[in-house]
Subunit: 328 residues, 2 copies
């Protein structure tokens, strides 16, 4: 067997822990280090024996890591780390601020090219797997419409928004596709759907002592962008109920492309994810793309890449011959 691909993880939150778990399922890769901004001695790696370093140690380890998986957040971590680390390492990240992707791509592309590195940005499931399906669906059925539904799942951004409201002690928000809308789209009729018609929102909120439920409810359902365009339900629960019933991070959704090849023949493509753990699945995607990044770098394909640039076969541990014989 070939030498395993040497993988390192930068950042040890939910996503970083998911990458540790995913690497344990991929024997052609080896976790050579966890890098953290916290005190390394306070980190407990999943596998005893995994070295833990301070983030600053990365600069001295450039010849020991084949691919560095960046597990920081899109808001403040990646905009700084992505470009800086792409000058030193082949990288994979899950940058997911859709509107800023072109700018982030350019910021990562320049240092990666200048230093002969390969940096795959915005992997995960949306952006990521869903992007692949959107692009393929539109290419296969150019006369058609694409619909993306999210959920049922816990939205981190919306949960954060709730928790910033005065009177809220804790809370989570679930995004839920409206079944009637999904059925209409599946039928191939290409409906025009408003934001409200596609998804609804459900919040489970723990109030601070003395806070007024009516005031908090109003503050949530009228919040611009986050809630005002949706039908939103607010449930008040206890800290204990929150811990007991809402600690998991399920998510998912589907991409549907509906189109016509001739006026009489409609065709529907649907890709769906049902995820018990959003961060663990995202981590699994990052790990598969780390394998592809390693191979692209070996081929001399430097610079920033996205999931749209990666052939499916590059994600697999198996050889092209094996895949043609067994999976095609």
């Amino acid at each position: 067997m070939d030498q395993p691909i040497r993988i390192a993880i930068a950042g040890h939150g939910n996503l970083g822990r998911g990458v540790e778990a995913a690497l344990a399922k991929n024997p052609d890769m080896q976790l050579v280090g966890l890098y953290t901004r916290r005190a390394p001695e306070r980190i407990t790696p999943l596998q005893a024996g995994t070295p833990v370093y301070a983030m600053g140690a990365l600069h001295g380890h450039t010849d020991q890591i084949d691919v560095l998986i960046l597990c920081g957040g899109s808001k403040t971590d990646l905009p700084q780390q992505g470009p800086a680390l792409a000058a030193l390492f082949n990288t994979v990240d899950s940058f997911d601020t859709h509107a800023c992707i072109p700018e982030y791509f350019a910021a990562v592309d320049a240092p990666a090219r200048a230093h002969g590195k390969t940096a795959l940005i915005s992997a995960g499931w949306d952006p990521g797997m869903f992007s692949v399906q959107r692009v393929m669906g539109e290419a296969l059925l150019p006369d058609g419409a694409t619909y993306t539904f999210w959920g049922k799942g816990l939205s981190q951004g919306h949960s954060d928004a709730i928790r910033r409201i005065s009177g809220v002690a804790a809370g989570v928000q679930y995004t839920i596709p409206v079944p009637e809308a999904v059925e209409q789209v599946r039928s191939g009729t290409r409906p025009v759907l408003s934001t409200r018609q596609k998804h609804r929102r459900e919040c489970f909120v723990v109030l601070q002592t003395g806070a007024d439920p009516g005031t908090v409810r109003r503050a949530i359902v009228t919040m611009p962008h986050y809630f005002d365009e949706y039908d939103t339900q607010v449930h008040f629960i206890t800290h204990e109920e929150l811990r007991r019933d809402h600690s998991a991070m399920p998510h998912g959704g589907f991409v549907i492309r509906s189109g016509n090849t001739t006026p009489e023949n409609g065709q529907v493509i649907e890709y769906g994810l049902t995820l018990d753990s959003n961060p663990e699945f995202t981590a699994s995607v990052l790990v598969a793309y780390a394998r592809a990044v390693y191979r692209l770098h070996q081929q001399g394909q430097y610079g920033a890449k996205t999931v749209l640039d990666v052939a499916p076969g590059l994600l697999s541990p198996h050889s092209p011959e094996h895949l043609r014989a067994h999976a095609l």
Copy 2:
């Protein structure tokens, strides 16, 4: 705008006609010729003005065609045409005899490489889109199981098998996934399913005058490989009912990958197709891959390729910049 990609079609059955329809929806491609083994004057192209030639004329047209789409059958046409034409043209085909793909790949690869051509084999939906999903699903969830269900849809091979039975004047066969099996797989329990548990078969048969229904039914349901391992229903109908109710060619199915990222967290990926017309959808896939073949050839990537070698972005008429900004 760039010059359109010059596409030609070899073979004018259901698939060739589907390619004509698909090309009409892709303005970056131009249909420059239909090549047929029948008398060209008996072919009516979809767009008046499309030149129709005898198959033998292809040899003189090598500098007029960017990509030739082979629309012959996998049994006798492609094994001969694929290797021969890959020496002269960039090609795309839908070779779908799964067990023979490695051999066919090798037979096409050698002449394509020797003559600097790019030949994509086995496009369509299975092999094709389903293969992409199988490979990606296994790479994302290595600890898991993959299930492919076909239908509800009309199976050409099984319909042909029925029609060869003595006493049968005409008939069609539908492959139907068993709903209980699908639900079990979707639930993430990774069931072990027998052939009989996954699909059932339904036949609509027109008897020849004087044929005995019981004898024909027994001959169908006991036919080795085709029917003996399935629960099969046989309905006897008239020629008129067959024409009225069973002339369409719907098909579809789904690929489900179910796996665990940790013992407590299961993840399910599902890709499904609901197709009013099997040949028209297959044709749409061939056309999107023709665009990719044109680009791979421009990049100097010669030889045989499969859908597993093609990055999603290469299928799209849009630029990488456009896709990053709008579809990622």
